[in-house]
């Protein structure tokens, strides 16, 4: 059992991983293949509950990364490892491919306005695509293909008519970042590791130049090995061990999500308008289909002060609309059902910081992981395994490690006969809770009793998609809260949206009137 707050922390652990995002869980799973003595600490109420949950799901090829950087190398390597990485995890991963489109906006206006139209056309249709192809080859990314305007429009009929040429990158894929992380964490726990949620690291004790223990809000764990995968807070955790020297500066990214019924198959691959000499630090984002078939647009890239700033402003929504209106002139603006925003965790140098500390032996940083962190995850895990094996983690694989993780049944994906069998076994699989996404009570209950138990509304949502449809929980909100309360054995008024302070109900009806009456009585008595 993991994740329950009442379960005490162990006194010792072979390895402590700080942070249960996609990086921490990828690294943990790699280590678990060699030793079960791994503890993962997470300060939020669920795994994948910070930067990871708002990731755009892109498994980049590495085409957008600067040649020679650590993240470029790990991105290309990670992408190549992906099929093997997710093979046993029972989650969807598909290489939809990325279509880079070259349009008159690919070059800055002050360039195009000075050149004859024929030259611009030549640059856009011949020169720039070849430069992109060459750059990809140099980075070791296979399979790129140049496309003519007609080929683009055949593949993606909604793309702007002023597209000149394109490059198709078939290695690019999409994977749900939180489903991946949940699957990785579950596989860790099934193989003996332990995950502790709502557990915040407050200090790292270093003695005689070596890590001795991790102090948390719930007690102290002695350990010789700490992996700092604390995302936005990796600089602070590193400083606790005196192993810092880098600073994480939060950068927000917002995306928009559209109604699946109205945008299904709107784009088949991810589509992005290529812009040279682009200002700003995002790769520009794209229009992409989610695993479920919704159209998603984004993300933006905005420097923020607050590591918790997951807000989205009117200007950002407007910016996304304008950006994609030029690329996809007919996208259904009125079909937007949700927007979300997450905070990236880059360093000043804008590269990954992965390595063992010189000053605190046994302390390993996995920091500065921003896009393409999701794509790089398998390669990051591989690299960190090498490092920790030099610090005492066994080099012989366990014989009792089971790589297989099975996802619980998903009603809507089953045949009629399979559904009938499931409902005969447990009628709760015949009760639809989420009317937009067709999620059953049985699936909600499975999530609540899964290996990393879902204890909040959002945790159930991430595992089942309940409330993620066009009504955004309008119909199922109470029902979900009631099931959570029933299964967890708590009053429904204690159910939260996403942990600490995110209460759903102020109390039962009449309770406010009673409170008011009591307050007035004591006022009158005075």
């Amino acid at each position: 059992m993991s994740g329950h707050p009442q379960i005490e922390l162990p006194r010792t652990a072979g390895v402590v991983v700080v942070g249960a995002g996609v990086s921490g869980c990828s690294v943990a799973r790699e280590i678990v293949k060699y030793t079960p003595d791994v503890v993962i600490l997470e300060k939020e109420s669920d795994v994948a509950d910070a930067t990871t949950k708002a990731n755009n799901a892109e498994v980049h090829s590495g085409i957008g990364e600067k040649y020679g950087t650590l993240k470029q190398k790990l991105n290309v390597r990670g992408n190549a490892l992906y099929d093997e990485f997710v093979k046993d995890l029972d989650i969807a991963f598909e290489r939809q491919g990325l279509l880079l489109v070259f349009t008159p906006r690919t070059l800055p206006e002050n360039v195009t306005s000075r050149l004859p139209a024929g030259v611009v056309e030549f640059l856009l249709s011949r020169v720039i695509p070849r430069l992109v192809m060459h750059s990809a080859r140099r980075k070791g990314i296979p399979g790129q293909r140049m496309l003519s305007r007609d080929e683009i429009l055949r593949m993606e009929p909604h793309v702007t008519r002023d597209a000149v040429a394109g490059v198709f990158d078939p290695t690019y894929g999409l994977v749900s970042p939180y489903k991946l992380t949940i699957a990785l964490a579950e596989n860790c726990v099934a193989n003996g590791a332990r995950v502790f949620l709502d557990t915040e690291v407050t200090d790292i004790r270093v003695e005689r130049g070596a890590v001795r223990s991790v102090v948390t809000n719930r007690g102290e764990i002695e350990t010789p090995l700490v992996i700092n995968a604390a995302g936005l807070f990796a600089d602070e955790v590193a400083d606790m061990a005196g192993a810092g020297g880098f600073r994480i500066h939060p950068r927000k990214g917002a995306s928009l999500l559209f109604d699946r019924e109205l945008t299904y198959n709107y784009v088949k691959s991810s589509v992005s308008e290529f812009k040279m000499f682009r200002k700003g630090l995002s790769k520009g984002g794209g229009a992409m289909p989610t695993a479920e078939g919704n159209l998603q647009l984004g993300p933006t890239a905005i420097e923020v002060e607050d590591k918790y700033d997951t807000s989205i402003s009117a200007e950002e929504i407007q910016e996304i609309f304008e950006r994609f209106y030029t690329l996809l002139p007919d996208f259904p603006r009125n079909a937007m059902i949700s927007s979300f925003s997450g905070v990236r965790a880059p360093t000043e140098e804008e590269d990954f910081v992965i390595g063992a500390s010189d000053t605190a032996r046994g302390f390993v940083n996995v920091a500065g992981i921003q896009s393409p962190g999701l794509a790089s995850a398998p390669a990051i895990a591989e690299m960190v395994l090498g490092i920790v094996q030099g610090l005492g983690v066994p080099t012989e694989p366990r014989t009792d490690y089971n790589p297989r993780r099975n996802a619980p049944p998903k009603f809507i994906d089953l045949s009629h006969e399979e559904r009938d069998r499931l409902i005969a076994k447990d009628p709760r699989y015949g009760r639809i809770i989420c009317r937009c996404e067709y999620i059953t009570e049985g699936e909600v209950v499975d999530a609540i009793h899964s290996i990393i138990p879902a204890r909040t509304m959002d945790a159930v949502k991430r595992r089942t998609r309940v409330g993620m449809g066009r009504c955004q929980g309008g119909f199922c909100g109470y029902r979900l809260a009631a099931i959570l309360a029933g299964e967890l054995g708590i009053p429904v008024t204690e159910v939260t949206k996403d942990g600490g302070g995110s209460w759903m109900f102020a109390g039962e009806t009449k309770s406010l009137i009673r409170q008011r009456a009591v307050a007035e009585d004591s006022e009158a008595g005075r």
Binding site: E261, Y308, T310, S311, I312, S313, A314, E316, I317, M336, I337, S338, S339, F340, H416, R419, D420, I423, A424, P427, R428, Y429, G430, R431, I432, R435, C436, Y438, M457, R470, C471, Q472, G473, G474, F475, G477, Y478, V492, T493, T496, K497, D498, G499, G500, G501, S502, W503, M504, F505, A506, G507, E508, T509, K510, S511, L512, I513, R514, Q515, R516
Partner: protein, 427 residues
Amino acid sequence: MKAIRRPDCAVIGAGPAGLGAALAAGRAGLKDVVLIERDIELGGILPQCIHDGFGSIVFKEVLTGPQYAQRYIDEVEKADIEVMLNTMVLDLAPDRKITAVSPEQGMVELEPRSVILAMGCRERSRHQVMIPGYRPAGVITAGAAQRDINIEGLMPGRNVVILGSGDIGLVMARRFILEGASVEGVYEIMDHPGGLTRNVVQCLQDFDCPLHLSHTVTFIHGRRRVEGVTVAHVDEDLRPIKESERYVPCDTLVLSVGLIPENELSRKAGVVLDPVTAGPFVDERMETMAEGIFACGNVVNVFDLVDYVTRSAEVAGEGAAEYVLQGRKREAPIRVVPGRNVKYVVPQFVSDFSRDIDFYFRVEHPERAVTARILAGADAVSSKKHKMVRPPEMLKSNMKAAAFDGAERAGGPKVDRVTVEVVSRET
């Protein structure tokens, strides 16, 4: 494989529309009517509408929502109608085949001879009106808040701001106040209230709850739970005026920002939808453009009185019976067009003028001293005076069966369209 049920008529949804349609289909002679409801009880949204104001047209009485629903539920129980509760329709094919699921029966398939769509509508969420900010707990639609309080006995918040002055928003302002919560105010982006005048008076004015017209919420604050909202005045183009922004502390934002007919099944069945109403195009029998598939109530367009929902349901039920029993085929339908100051009209088509037809319509903007007219071709065949018309208040005009014959027989050109218009009496 289980046997496939082949009823005369399957009604999808058992709110006021579905209840009324099933009863009307039975009364009109259909023997085998199935009523499919996804919830555990009949009545749709009515059981949570514990305020009064229902039934003034149909029953000439003032009833609460549960009372109104109960009259129909009692009738359905007496009638020989098969009720399938807890049953969710997953698919409706163009050939009318229904695939549904329930905990008791598992997967269920029906091949009804006629279908009546009565799925109602759903509330727009914060994202559909694009309210920027954080995504904390405490942002809730008015209908969901109403369900929490009136059915589940739970308070979704203590200090409430309401965005949108639609009827549910107004009713919920009063409900929160009566439950001891504080309602800081109701904010409405338009310069006129979105709900019925009687609700503005009875729910806000009687409780000294302020209504801020031409205002909207521009930001939701709070990472875990709502801590406040920023509100602002809007200009004539409904754009927030930055300088007028004001922070209002609250723990709950209740949204009453519009309803959308719920037509996902209609789309699957290939039923053509009217982009203006977001519901199916229907003719005077409430038959959609897909043969044998009828629609009624808020799935067609959002009615503001349940009485109108019931009336449309009765027409649909009778239409389905006529289709099944007499094999009525639609004649070449004539288009019904919105004329001056009319946003839309239901039904959008007419193919048979042999009976009286009710037209439901909304104006585009408020206007005083007007006449609502129905024109068959160029001839006015019905006119009705109104002192005041407003977009939130749906209008109804009746066209007599004989009226159209008169227009045709008068020797003019063949009537190719019906127009509904609102004209001023002041000029």
